[in-house]
């Protein structure tokens, strides 16, 4: 049996750390930073975390089957340059098709040929990032107004970013908790061999997870490009590893079988609050990396206390 042992909250992986961390950050900032509760700041945080929230949900799917996809950031970059290079109505379908292609490549490599997910997605990350830079070497270009409106507009006085988040969370929840597909992901991630003996097909769902993860990168890329209103070939770079960090902070076990939509979202919020806190308190942005690294190590150690013996 794999490491997928249910803890306090079963297979959701939620625990004191993943639930407590965002609350602690929230309380610290509420008392420590003056402007934290301003409408402007809250909107700002929401804007900042939307792309990561979408990508983290994609990463969650891959993590549940014991995989990892660090190429998802490159999918964002590629999407961004495609959007400013092609006509408005062709660009989005082309980007989605490319997303499917990247995901299929990753999935076939990992699920059918048994390549280690890190190596497989490292290869596609490098390749796709290179492709993005070949298409457009620097930031710029004009983004179709529809996309800018979709990312920056308001509906019923609420910012569009909120709707993007809600849609992504709803879709991920439906997949994981509503459909058979979701339950089988938990089964495959826990022990693929047992799952197969129970008559669950393993390769198909694995492949699908990688495709969906790459597509989450495309969607996040569409959103980000619209928000910034410019194409940028290096836009996605931090997202590959940030999404893994967010998912890990949210109690998702990278060995598979344990994790939740709520956890991945809370992990994203924690990361968002750290960045926001740095801004509000006027701390050097480079300190963000130092803090995130420490936090990740502590959080994982606390979640896996038994396994590492503390």
């Amino acid at each position: 049996m794999s490491a997928a042992r249910p803890g306090l909250f079963g297979r959701s992986g939620l625990g004191v750390v993943s639930l407590g961390l965002p609350v602690v950050m929230f309380v610290l900032l509420a008392f420590g930073a003056q402007d934290f509760f301003s409408v402007e700041n809250v909107t700002n945080v929401n804007n900042q975390i939307t792309a990561l929230a979408i990508v983290s949900l994609g990463q969650l799917l891959v993590a549940l089957i014991g995989g990892m996809d660090i190429s998802v950031g490159s999918a964002i970059s590629l999407t961004s340059v495609i959007l400013v290079s092609l006509g408005s109505w062709v660009a989005v379908p082309v980007a989605l098709a490319l997303g499917v292609a990247i995901g299929l490549t990753n999935g076939v490599g990992v699920a059918l040929f048994g390549v280690h997910p890190l190596i497989m997605t490292l290869a596609s990350m490098t390749f796709v990032q290179g492709l993005a830079l070949l298409i457009r070497s620097g930031a710029g270009g004009t983004v179709p107004t529809v996309l800018v409106d979709l990312a920056q507009g308001h509906v019923f006085w609420l910012p569009a970013a909120l709707y993007w988040c809600i849609a992504a969370i709803a879709f991920a929840s439906l997949l994981l908790y509503g459909l058979r597909f979701g339950l089988r992901l938990f089964a495959i991630g826990s022990n693929a061999q047992s799952a197969a003996l129970n008559g669950v097909r393993v390769a198909g769902p694995r492949l699908t997870c990688y495709v969906l993860c790459s597509l989450s990168g495309v969607v996040a890329g569409v959103y980000l490009t619209g928000r910034i209103a410019a194409g940028d070939p290096s836009m996605g770079q931090p997202f590959g590893l940030d999404s893994v960090t967010a998912v890990a902070l949210g109690g998702v076990q990278l060995s598979g079988g344990v994790g939740s939509v709520l956890g991945a979202t809370l992990g994203t919020i924690t990361l968002g609050l750290i960045t926001n806190g740095m801004n509000l308190l006027g701390v050097s942005p480079f300190f963000r990396g130092v803090l995130t690294g420490l936090l990740l190590l502590c959080a994982i150690s606390l979640q896996r206390r038994k396994a590492i013996g503390i």
Partner: protein, 520 residues
Amino acid sequence: MQTHAHAPSSPVSGELGIAVEFCGITKQFARIAALTDVSFAGEAGTVHAITGENGAGKSTLMKMLAGAHAADAGEILLGGRPLLVANPAEARSAGVATVFQEATLLPNLTVAENLFLGREPRRNGLIDRGAMRRQAEDILEKIGVDLNVNVACGDLAVSEQYLVEIAKATAQDARVVIYDEPTAALDAQGVEKLFRLIDEQKRSGKLIFYISHRMGEIFDICDTTTVLKDGRHVRTCRTAELTRDGLVALMVGREIGHLYPPRKPRPAEAPVALSVDDFAPIRGGPAVSFSVYRGEIVGLAGLEGQGQRDIVRALAGIAASPAGEARKHDRQGRQTRLRPSVVAVVKAGVGFIPEDRKSEGLYLSLSIERNIGLGMLRRAPLASRAQIDKERIRQLMRAMNVRARDARQVVSALSGGNQQKVMIGRWLAAGIDVLLVEEPTRGVDVGAKAEIYRLLREFADQGGAVLLTSTELTEHLGLCDRILVVRGGEIVAQLPAASATEEMVMRYALLGRPQEGPVQ
């Protein structure tokens, strides 16, 4: 042994026709025959025991029926129609349900989810969790198991998990149900439930294949018995026509062959090399006491999984917290207590050759000379220059008849037999005088087998001592000087190998000590 736990078996059986027929089934794994031309039939409405010694092919045959392996030749007829695809899902939908020996439950899924995994009830395309819970409760109630279906299976006790496993197999509308050693994981109450359930299944016209080598169970609940030996079909008959002794006799009986080197009579004053006192691999578990003398090969025999492996591994320093004492005596008579640490055990002069030499013993990507040379460096401090005596390695390779291009050949390219020789060579180079060996000839062809036997015998003749486990009875009888029969973690008999017979060893392995012998 459960003798009264079952409901009375129905007198009439076998009127419902043949449910499963095996026709000339042949299967090899890595060129070693697992099954050869096995043909027999199972009738609907009967409980059919599949029995035989370790490695007789019982589980392999049943796994083929369950779709986990494909046959190399022959076919399986299910209700007269051939089972075409070797695929667990296909076999399930064709009406074969299996309760596997190894748990296939997923620890992170709830009882209800595990019961319905692969065929979850749906409403409007979504999983219908309410229906799933209700149906799961019904299934458990039907077999008399009281469990909360919303609990994750990883949180259940082992015997509860096994009951869920049984519930899962019975939940599907199967025509054939396979139980593989089902009572191993159950307590008395669980066994009673299981037997009642099997009786119900039988009455409803199902065919139940029951893999077991527990005599009591076979004679209590099985209508028909099939005996396999070395992958061949020996006999299928009504259990009522058999006696316990007759069944044991069917399971054994093989030529010992000329593979084994001659034994020398052990001198009466041979010094002790390894003494084991009230030693339990797991604290609180069953304990054993025995000694191994210089010049001697001692075998731990018994059915698979009776604790032989645990004893050897605990002596090798792998178990976390064994209880009791084990001492190594060197040639000068000094004693060293074996602590539960591999490093300390090796330092005391005891070498361990694991069953899975590829993943636990050898460094597959390194050359022969490095693999053997590592043994020479046993006493060298970590920071010293790694000097390997190449002449000594060449001598060893010649003496052991290692077939390789030269000493620099990578070990992964060697055959199983030559790899095992390298493994032995490492300990010879290290100057070790007690060897603990698991399955000395697993995955080794016949020619190399004889050479490995000769090496072990020479090692003993030069004053070494060997303690080994083996699932091959003939190996115990042919190679060893003394056989210790292990059953339930305890040593139930000690036999001189020269006068022991397969039947004697099997009788102790199956039935235990004579005083608790054939219970009727």
